[in-house]
């Protein structure tokens, strides 16, 4: 089939062709970027925290009238209350294990600090988030120790909320260990936290443990966590609790009752005081999920509008060329030739639009990158977008093209 008559025909509908190509180009630009955003968010939401997330829940509670001072007597009192809470939780029939833990991955409340290789290092080597807990943490959270050892019970210290001491021993994530010691073998090495002078020895390395914050300010140290063998003593406390398999709901409601029974002078928020890890995860990524859905809806509307637009416009052209189609058929063109004609015509228009659309898509991406926290769009997404709009064009053109193919040759002999 020669393209010449097709181009000649298109030239007679310049404005219409330009409009539909422009529409395809804009659709491509927006759809590419929207799909890219969706892809990013899905990837973000699905990344594992490093915890065994099933059967895990967190309790946040506040003691009423508890000491807020940081003198030894206050800390001792707080520590005793905390130990008794942990004991209460461990004694519940549906609880597998429980541990005091200052925060939880994805729960947003972050203690972060700089860590360096030398004492008093001016600019830290990496930023890291602290988890203050005991030797039970690895078991309760379901972390994987890949090198070194766990803390021992003797190493666990008591730590005031605003204490400024640096830990003697730490367990770090593999990502942090690799960042600090790219040659490997971080176990046994010393590092310095808070730009301080007291060395901290790395005694163990866990495979993966995400930091609490998922916000953009913390995105450069998402995997750099540090476990510190200290129990945080403040007027509030948080516990990570692992329920026996399948007993999560029972353990969660039993925990509230048991804690209040043991000491009623406390506040455990009705909605957010006791949250399963699934809830924590859902809340942390709520806006990402929402953004993905919104972008999905925008994509769907866009593709539907553009598809419907192609159907409408092509139908018009078919109606307009009714007689010419009849003439072609009378001169020996097969139905397939007519079908092909409209399909090829659409491919040319959509191809032209897609060509411009690639430039627009990259331009839009660059502009979004300059104004917002966006990454560069991979070529794959653009190619996928091109495939989508070309396919959309072909699908949309099929019905009107088939109607054109069904125009009987006898039309040629009728006058209007």
């Amino acid at each position: 089939m020669t393209l010449h008559p097709m181009l000649a025909a298109l030239r007679r509908h310049k404005a219409g062709v330009v409009l539909i190509a422009l529409q395809i180009a804009l659709t491509l630009a927006i759809v590419c970027n929207a799909i890219f955003i969706i892809g990013n968010r899905i990837e973000r939401v699905q990344r594992p925290t490093g915890l065994a997330e099933n059967d895990l829940f967190q309790i946040t509670q506040l003691w009423v009238g508890a000491p807020t001072g940081e003198d030894a007597a206050s800390i001792d009192k707080l520590d005793a209350m905390l130990r008794s809470d942990v004991e209460t939780l461990r004694n519940l029939p549906d609880v597998e294990s429980a541990v005091a833990l200052n925060t939880m991955p994805l729960s947003n409340s972050t203690w972060s600090t700089g860590v360096g290789l030398n004492p008093k290092q001016e600019t830290s080597t990496a930023q890291s988030a602290y988890y203050f807990s005991s030797e039970q943490a690895i078991k309760t959270l379901g972390l994987h120790l890949v090198a070194g050892r766990n803390f021992t019970a003797e190493e666990i210290r008591s730590r005031a909320l605003r204490a400024t001491t640096q830990p003697a021993v730490v367990i770090v994530t593999k990502a942090l260990a690799d960042k600090l010691f790219p040659d490997g073998n971080a176990v046994g090495k010393t590092v310095y936290y808070d730009g301080g002078t007291n060395p901290s020895t790395i005694v163990g390395v866990v495979e993966r443990l995400q930091i609490p914050s998922v916000a953009s300010w913390s995105s450069n140290f998402t995997w750099y966590s540090t476990l510190v063998p200290s129990v945080l003593n403040a007027n509030f406390s948080r516990y990570a609790v692992r329920a026996k398999p399948g007993r999560l709901d029972a353990a969660m409601s039993a925990a509230r009752r048991a804690l209040f029974a043991a000491n009623p002078m406390r506040v455990i928020d009705e909605d957010r005081g006791i949250r399963s890890f699934a809830q924590i995860r859902a809340e942390a990524y709520r806006s990402d999920r929402g953004m993905a859905i919104l972008m999905g809806v925008i994509c769907l509307i866009l593709l539907a509008v553009t598809g419907a637009g192609i159907v409408g416009l092509t139908s018009f052209w078919v109606g307009q060329r009714h007689k010419q189609i009849g003439v072609r058929r009378a001169l020996g063109a097969r139905k397939l030739d007519i079908l092909r004609y409209f399909q090829t015509e659409n491919l040319m228009i959509a191809g032209g639009g897609a060509f411009v659309g690639i430039a627009l898509a990259i331009g839009l991406n660059l502009w979004l990158m300059s104004r917002f926290e966006m990454e560069r769009i991979p070529v794959l997404y653009v190619l996928f977008g091109v495939g989508v709009v070309l396919l959309l064009g072909q699908l949309a053109v099929f019905a009107p093209a088939r109607r054109a193919a069904n125009v009987p040759p006898v039309v040629a002999t009728r006058s209007v």
């Binding site: 404005a15 509307i301 979004l368």
Partner: protein, 437 residues
């Protein structure tokens, strides 16, 4: 004549019902999607105190010097909060008309009635000038005096909601409220007051959060009873002493500050004062201070989430595509009626009349699309809660201005889309059309 055009437009639209429906749907969805995202954007980017925002200022002082910058920072922007010493010194100098240092607190309140569990409330420790400065509306009583601030009086201002919980909504001025085991005398009860964004402390609240501000205590009193700071604490150096007192003596930043300056001259004078202040306190580096007006500050702190902006932009892109789509369909449709136009022109219709006729048809699609857009916007606003963070979604609402905007946008959009097709229709040569038939 106009009714005649309406009639013509109606006939024409009826002739191709599928196409008409398609155009109406296109406009409706385009407008619905963009107005839904607009309603969210409008809700989070609005001016929380329009009558006064131009007179409220937030100062920044560089207490850390050049070595305190984040490793990768390129701008020389000072930290976004104050340390205790600077905040107290600024309050002591008292150079603005009204001003307040403030920090976030979250103590527990113990209800007096038996059988009620203690409740956790959030709020701020502020100075007495805070209330007139932010024009906080009182249901009963008022804020506290400068004397109360100076004498560390045990007084409190509580929210309408907390007053309902503790005192069943009665006038509780003069009664006591037990906060962390200490008694405070209620001096004021606020009306139902939820400024959004929570502009006086966006650093700690992000501007939007679902929990309300239930309790305000005097700053000095809160400090004297060691009521800890619930907001962010940022340090470059480890505090030399431990505990809350150590925090107060350190260069760690955790205090927000707001000042009311009534005109440009006052703002300039305050800026000069801040420079002098920084110069005396931090002689080791050049004074580096900022004085942001409120809206400027909200922008500086990126209070409007970038997700909201990106969604609005892409939804507007969708509207543009819908416009182009409608323009293409109208063009095909109008040009197909070239012979009709030719007849009308030959019978004496002027170009102007052709314009009126076809623009009327376009506007009609716009009105129908607008009505559909209204429904979709209503649906969209009702369901943003499913996709957007709760704190933000709850702010988006339908009101008369949004409804009007939706209709106006729809009609303008379809008029815009029909401009070029109408122009082409008006160019039709009557003679040529009549001949070709």
């Amino acid at each position: 004549m106009f009714t005649y055009y309406l009639d013509l437009a109606l006939r024409s639209l009826k002739r191709n019902p599928a196409l008409t429906v398609l155009m109406i749907l296109t406009i409706g969805f385009g407008v619905g999607a963009s107005m839904t995202t607009w309603s969210v954007f409008r809700a989070v980017s609005g001016d929380p105190i329009p009558q006064k925002s131009a007179r409220l200022y937030v100062p920044q002082i560089d207490m850390w010097g050049p070595s305190g910058r984040a490793p990768n920072s390129t701008d020389n922007d000072p930290p976004n909060a104050l340390d205790y010493n600077d905040a107290v010194a600024l309050m002591r100098d008292h150079r603005a008309k009204l001003q307040s240092a403030l920090y976030m607190i979250a103590p527990s309140v113990i209800p007096q009635r038996a059988g009620q569990h203690p409740i956790n409330v959030s709020g701020h420790a502020v100075f007495g000038e805070f209330f007139p400065m932010v024009e906080a509306p009182f249901e009963y009583g008022s804020g506290w005096s400068a004397d109360d601030d100076a004498q560390r009086a045990a007084v409190a201002v509580i929210s309408h909601k907390l007053n309902g919980k503790l005192f069943d909504g009665a006038n509780s001025v003069g009664k006591t409220v037990n906060v962390e085991g200490r008694d405070y005398r209620v001096v004021g009860v606020l009306q139902d007051w939820h400024p959004r964004p929570l502009y006086y402390d966006v650093v700690n609240t992000g501007g939007f959060r679902t929990d309300d501000e239930d309790l305000f205590l005097p700053f000095n009193t809160a400090i004297s009873v060691d009521m800890p700071n619930q907001g962010n604490t940022n340090c470059t150096d480890t505090p030399a002493e431990s505990g809350f007192v150590g925090l107060q003596h350190s260069s760690c930043i955790w205090i927000a500050y707001m000042a009311q300056l009534d005109d440009a001259a006052a703002a300039d004078a305050y800026r000069t004062y801040l420079e002098g202040f920084a110069h005396t306190r931090y002689p080791n580096w050049a004074p580096n201070v900022r004085l942001h007006s409120l809206m400027d500050w909200l922008d500086h702190e990126h209070v409007v989430p970038s997700d909201t902006k990106v969604s609005l932009l892409l939804a507007l892109g969708l509207l543009v595509v819908c416009l182009v789509n409608t323009a293409g369909l109208l063009l095909a449709k109008f040009l197909r009626r070239s012979s009709e136009i030719g007849v009308r022109r030959a019978l004496g219709a002027s170009r102007r009349e052709i314009y009126t006729q076809f623009l009327t048809e376009g506007a009609m699609i716009g009105v129908a699309g607008g009505v559909l857009g209204l429904l979709l916007t209503g649906l969209g606003v009702a369901s943003v809660g499913l996709v957007m963070p709760k704190d933000i979604a709850s702010l988006a609402h339908l009101d008369v201005s949004l409804l009007l905007t939706t209709l106006v946008v729809a009609v303008c959009a379809s008029l815009l889309a029909s401009l070029y097709p109408t122009f082409r229709a008006a160019q039709v040569q009557p003679a040529w059309q009549l001949k070709s038939n």
